[in-house]
């Protein structure tokens, strides 16, 4: 549905040129929810703005709905844009228009009659839970309600694709959840393809099917959300996943952490397990077979795409160093991801 090919966008301002997007290719299949995550300045905002040519890339192709937008005339591009809805971090509602008239705007622009507009807008207000607010003005609404108006407006011209530019970044956590639920709902009800950018891993975790991680204008990692969380490859991805999912270890343990094994020190391991492995009693087996004590320091389970994903940090207390190594070797043979974080004294 969306296919970006070798996009390049460089800004020439004062000083050195800024390579906002360097050779990014990205495919979003119909009906999928694709998230692009990255720190601010990673180029994700420029990338999403290239999809409806609010920003014109210097090189590359932008295919949406089977057409390369860069080859279209101005008039054709305007037509194509009506098939691409967009919502923004700061909502961008017209303050002088009521909720109803804001949602009606794209239809007015397309030249629909008033009766057709009413027939289209009413169900959208119902879908987004705004029926009671039709005659309110944006200044009278909360942030979440404003984003609902923006979503209804984006859907008015019945687009195939919805672009979300940091759509929940200005909202509190609870409102964010309700907006994400609404996006999921319209994705399922209308079969809408969604491309979103965010710096919040929670958005990726709760909403997306696929994810791409951007850093310095390039995609450094991509794939299904499950795999991204369970087996991040790049250092940046690991940092993002850890920051999003794991509670940091207490300072009292971190300060005692040594990088090399030594007598009197126990290995501290992080175990990541996915899906069915959650149920396997690996640790009690380890304890029974190898005569080690396992001291669990932290443990948690997250649901990602309806699949459990577990993280655990444990201190493996064995009689001596060789015994600890044997136990670890067995652990690493299991279908788990085991990482030795370091060594701590008891």
């Amino acid at each position: 549905m969306i296919s970006l090919k070798h996009l390049v966008k460089t800004y020439h301002g004062h000083g050195a040129p800024v390579h906002a997007v360097c050779d990014v290719s990205l495919d979003v299949a119909e009906g999928r929810i694709y998230g692009v995550i990255g720190a601010s300045g990673a180029g994700k905002s420029t990338l999403i703005r290239c999809v409806n040519l609010l920003e014109r890339p210097d090189a590359g192709e932008v295919w949406v709905n089977g057409r390369d937008l860069l080859t279209l005339t101005d008039a054709e591009l305007r037509q194509a844009r009506r098939q691409i809805g967009m919502i923004f971090q700061h909502f961008n509602l017209l303050s002088t228009r009521s909720v109803f008239d804001n949602v009606a705007l794209p239809l007015e622009l397309a030249g629909l009659s008033r009766s057709d507009i009413v027939a289209r807008v009413q169900p959208l207000l119902a879908l987004t839970g705004l029926e009671a607010r039709a005659n309110h003005y944006p200044a009278q609404l909360s942030g979440g309600q404003k984003q609902r108006v923006a979503i209804a407006r984006a859907l008015a011209s019945e687009p195939k694709v919805l672009l979300c530019d940091e759509a929940t970044s200005a909202l509190d956590p609870e409102t964010t959840r309700s907006i994400l639920a609404l996006l999921r709902d319209i994705n399922e009800k209308l079969g809408l393809t969604i491309l979103l950018i965010t710096h919040e891993m929670d958005v990726i975790k709760t909403l997306c099917d696929e994810v791409a991680l951007m850093e310095d204008g390039a995609v450094v990692e991509r794939g299904p959300v499950q795999a991204f969380f369970a087996r991040p490859q790049s250092a940046t991805a690991k940092r993002f996943v850890q920051a999003a999912l794991e509670r940091p270890l207490p300072e009292t343990i971190l300060s005692r952490l040594q990088s090399a094994p030594a007598a009197g020190l126990d290995p501290l391991v992080r175990i990541t397990y996915v899906g069915g492995q959650v149920d396997a009693p690996v640790l009690s087996h380890l304890s029974r077979e190898f005569g080690v004590d396992v001291n669990i320091l932290s443990s948690q389970i997250e649901l990602i795409q309806h699949q459990p994903l577990g993280f655990m940090v444990a201190q493996v207390e064995a009689q001596d160093q060789p015994a600890a190594e044997t136990a670890l070797a067995w652990l690493q043979q299991q279908e788990l991801q085991v990482e030795v974080l370091g060594y701590v004294s008891r």
């Binding site: 305007r78 844009r81 009506r82 923004f88 961008n92 303050s95 002088t96 622009l109 200044a139 009278q140």
Partner: protein
């Protein structure tokens, strides 16, 4: 106050209203499009044209820097060419309009500048044409600021119109000068000033009321 003086006051009031209304209307009619052009030709905007933008800016600034009393007499040939005479109330409308146009253009540009860029992007993303963006987004959103500015323009024109007497334009200001100042008729002076104060108050109140009607940002 005698009936003759009362007649003078009412006819002068009508002259002022006529001059201000017609020049204000024409000033808005010509100044607003000029302001839109000024806004849209700025580099980075939809009709960006660096030279046109610079040229408009220079012409507008030049017109605005000429003191009105000088403009009034300096353009007499132009006035005669437009309305066929250089003396009288109708003749005064030409310089008043010419003074109002650049004023309105700057006010319009300023009001449009206040519209957040995100709204224009949102409209572009919806597939709006440049003209639709101007009409449905820019002008609509700038309406409160525009009305506020036009109110200011009308009040300035009421002030300018007092100088119209220099070319026989009549009006309340002229009456005040000729009777109140030159003939030491204090009652006439006070009357014209009071009427002008009331007139300005009315215009300002009407403007404020209209701004409140269009402005939905404060609740």
């Amino acid at each position: 106050m005698s009936a003759a003086k009362l007649d003078l006051l009412t006819s002068s009031l009508w002259e002022t209203l006529y001059m201000v209304a017609v020049s204000g209307g024409l000033g808005a009619l010509l100044g607003i499009p000029l302001g839109i052009l000024l806004y849209t030709t700025k580099p980075g905007r939809m009709l960006q044209n660096h030279w046109l933008h610079r040229l408009l800016g220079i012409v507008i600034n030049a017109t605005r820097s000429v003191p009105f009393i000088i403009l009034l007499v300096a353009i007499i040939p132009f006035t005669r060419w437009i309305v066929g005479t250089s003396i009288g109330t109708t003749a005064a409308i030409v310089p008043l309009t010419l003074g109002a146009i650049p004023f309105v253009a700057r006010i319009t540009e300023g009001a449009l500048n206040e519209v957040p860029g995100g709204l224009i992007e949102a409209a572009q993303a919806m597939g709006a044409t440049p003209w639709q963006i101007v009409r449905k987004v820019l002008l609509a959103e700038a309406m409160p600021g525009l009305i506020h500015g036009l109110t200011l323009m009308l009040i300035t024109l009421i002030g300018y119109s007092a100088m119209a007497g220099a070319i026989g334009g009549g009006g309340l200001g002229d009456l005040g000068i000729r009777y109140g100042y030159q003939r030491f008729d204090s009652s006439m002076m006070i009357s014209t000033v009071v009427i002008l104060i009331v007139l300005v108050q009315l215009v300002q109140s009407l403007g404020d009321w209209l701004v409140r009607r269009y402005d939905h940002t404060r609740h």
